[in-house]
């Protein structure tokens, strides 16, 4: 049991936050998604989403590209290879933990 708990403390703390985990999960299924879509899906305020995206970008998990589509500003986010590997490792870790504690 102690080792199970110890393995849980080893999870990626950056991804072990519900909003950030959902953001990365969404980005893992698409090539890219914009700020509006992520905000609708996560129900976060603009400020909160912005803060989470900045943290993920600083960790090298996502890339953010600011551009325009017609007359609308567009903030495109995409998962990097590092982010994809981190997300897979995180999910694997959680699965292992759930399996061990069944």
């Amino acid at each position: 049991m102690m080792s199970d708990l110890r393995s849980l403390t080893e999870v990626d703390r950056l991804l072990h936050e519900p909003s950030r985990a959902v953001i990365v999960a969404i980005l893992a299924t698409v090539e890219s998604a914009d700020f509006v879509f992520l905000q609708r899906e996560t129900n976060l305020t603009k400020g909160n989403l912005s803060a989470h995206l900045t943290k993920l970008q600083e960790a090298g998990y996502i890339q953010i590209e600011k551009t325009f589509r017609g007359k609308y500003p567009l903030t495109l986010c995409r998962l990097t290879d590092t982010g994809r590997q981190a997300f897979q490792a995180y999910r694997q870790k959680l699965r292992q933990f759930v399996e061990q504690t069944k």
Partner: protein
């Protein structure tokens, strides 16, 4: 049943392509093109054009599909993405892309062979071509319903089977059953697409220009 919230978020994201009814509009358009093709085939049965009708079929399948895809993309760019966000879906590359192309080619060849076999060996009393077309179409719709957890696709599948069976019993001559099948399915899909698009537009008003995102 997906209970993992991360999987739920991923499932919702995959469903996003189908949220605005443009998929139904594109399939409906394609079905109407096919109905027009089979009708033209009947009208031109005695003409020299009947020998090259398969060229038009290929044109509809490739050119029509391409044009309808462009139209849907344009609609999404101007209507859907400004309202509920832009998403670019990942396309398979490398081995996965080849595997998918091979599977699609094998499936298309099987369908073409089956339809030709049914047309050549049709027996009096029942129009198997239309019924089998309805069953195949419904199988694809059931797969989409299961893959993306979209219940309305099951309703389309039931409609497709129903039309196929009813028109099979009606047994119209000269593939007229296919004209009616694609015509009825196409109109139903267009109607469903228009209703879904209308609801989507009502629920998601256009955003103010400057406040679009952060």
């Amino acid at each position: 049943m997906v209970t993992d919230p991360l999987q739920q978020a991923q499932q919702r994201t995959l469903r996003y392509w189908y949220v605005d009814g443009t998929f139904e509009l594109s399939i409906g358009g394609m079905c109407l093109l096919l109905a027009a093709y089979f009708y033209a085939e009947i009208l031109l049965a005695d003409s020299w054009l009947s020998n090259i009708m398969f060229v038009f079929f290929l044109l509809i399948m490739i050119g029509g599909g391409f044009l309808i895809n462009r139209l849907v993309m344009m609609l999404k760019e101007h209507v859907t993405f400004p309202r509920t966000g832009y998403v670019s879906f990942a396309h398979p590359t490398g081995a996965r892309q080849w595997k998918r192309m091979l599977l699609l080619s094998a499936f298309s060849a099987f369908l073409a062979a089956l339809i030709v076999f049914l047309i050549l060996n049709s027996q009096a009393g029942f129009d198997w071509t239309t019924t089998v077309t309805g069953l195949i179409f419904s199988a694809v719709l059931v797969f989409l319903a299961w893959r993306f957890r979209l219940l309305r696709f099951l309703a389309y599948a039931v409609l497709s089977v129903g039309l196929g069976v009813v028109l099979g019993f009606a047994n119209w001559p000269h593939n007229f059953g296919l004209v009616l099948y694609y015509g009825a399915l196409g109109l139903s899909m267009l109607l469903a697409g228009a209703v879904i698009l209308g609801n989507y537009l009502r629920q998601n008003p256009a955003p103010a220009e400057a406040s679009h995102d952060e």
